[in-house]
């Protein structure tokens, strides 16, 4: 009985230790609009200090041009409670780029943008960063109230009439070569 209890608590402890490193399941994002232009927003609210790696998943169903934005604000006096530090933001291997911090009186505005990039298929947006003071002094898990948000745009790319015509022409030409070769053999 006691051994069972000890075993269970040992298991619980192992799970508790493992938990901070576990990755939450990606959050599905719904793209609105169509048939050519789509848009979506994403966000996260942080109530505990520490590192985060947030994932958002969305499908392109073909090829498209993608761009995006990411933003957060904090007051320097309340850095320990409001700050979001972005370490990286990527859609698959396409990286967001940081802008210089905007400082207005005691407030710091942090902005990242993803400029037009070609992507296709299922896409995973990953935002890596830290919430709170992020100074190694503040205890991980301390209560904080910080948020970030962002937008994504997708423009579905369809083959241009010119390239479509070229593809058709080459198909016809190939067919012609085949027919000639067959005739010669006969």
């Amino acid at each position: 009985m006691l051994t069972a209890l000890l075993k269970t608590s040992a298991l619980a402890l192992t799970l508790a230790l493992a938990a901070p490193f576990a990755q939450a399941a990606p959050i599905p994002l719904a793209l609105s609009g169509g048939p050519t232009n789509y848009s979506a927003t994403f966000s996260s609210n942080k109530t505990a200090a520490g590192n985060f790696s947030d994932q958002f998943i969305f499908g392109l169903g073909g090829q498209g041009l993608i761009n995006g934005s990411l933003i957060a604000i904090f007051s320097q006096a309340n850095r320990a409670s409001q700050q979001i530090v972005f370490n990286s933001a990527n859609v698959n291997s396409l990286g967001f780029v940081s802008e210089p911090d905007d400082i207005d009186m005691g407030d710091v505005l942090r902005v990242w943008f993803l400029l037009d990039s070609l992507a296709s298929g299922d896409l995973l947006l990953t935002v890596n960063g830290c919430a709170g003071a992020c100074d190694g002094v503040q205890q991980r898990g301390s209560p904080i109230s910080a948020s970030y948000s962002g937008t994504l745009n997708v423009t579905r790319t369809v083959p241009e009439p010119g390239s479509l015509a070229l593809a058709l022409t080459s198909l016809v030409a190939l067919g012609g070569v085949g027919v000639t070769a067959r005739r010669r053999r006969l």
Binding site: I73, V111, P143, S145
Partner: protein, 189 residues
């Protein structure tokens, strides 16, 4: 002939002015951290072209609050372009920075509200105005988004309540009274 042109121009002007995007009215619940502070994101996706006035209602708080906020959008083609005109939280304006990408004017826009104190028990209403998909080609449908965040820190009331004030006065009076009694007793010796 001239009159005809003028009439045509006026019809066109009226048609342009009436092109209007959808207006969104959203109630936003900010998340508490257990220490009395709040934070939360908000966002909108517009699928119609033209002018918009969106409102976000954050409710009211029992004490004065310090609030800062952010707003962002990107649009590298007309269908995904949002041009902010203004953003006001109970009349206090966000300041905007707008930059272009390539030939696209004001493709990136960001707005910030520096920490501002708001009175207790006043509903907090953010009003965002702007335009969606300016210059969009015929037959194209817009899909444009913006998003933002708001942080809220409750502040202690700067004016003490009458009860606390009278307690403070009574305490001061008794200190003075004790001090005087002591100095009298000392001079009597």
């Amino acid at each position: 002939m001239k009159i005809k042109n003028l009439a045509a121009l006026m019809t066109l002007a009226i048609a342009c002015a009436s092109a209007s995007a959808e207006n969104f009215n959203t109630t936003v619940t900010l998340s508490p951290d257990g220490l009395g502070n709040f934070s939360g994101p908000f966002a909108v996706t517009h699928l119609g072209a033209g002018a918009f006035t969106d409102t976000f209602n954050f409710g009211s708080f029992s004490g004065p609050v310090d609030i800062n906020g952010s707003l962002v959008t990107i649009g590298t083609s007309a269908p995904q372009d949002i041009d902010f005109v203004s953003a006001l939280l109970n009349g206090v304006a966000f300041s905007f920075t707008k930059t272009s990408i390539g030939g696209v004017f004001e493709a990136r826009e960001r707005g910030g509200l520096a920490s501002t104190r708001f009175a207790a028990n006043v509903p907090l209403l953010l009003t965002v105005t702007g335009r969606v998909a300016d210059g969009i080609a015929r037959g194209q449908s817009p899909a444009a988004s913006y998003s933002g965040t708001l942080n809220l820190l409750p502040q202690v009331s700067p004016v003490p309540e009458p009860g606390a004030l009278s307690l403070l006065l009574a305490g001061l009076a008794s200190v003075v009274w004790v001090a005087r009694r002591r100095s009298r007793a000392e001079s009597a010796l």
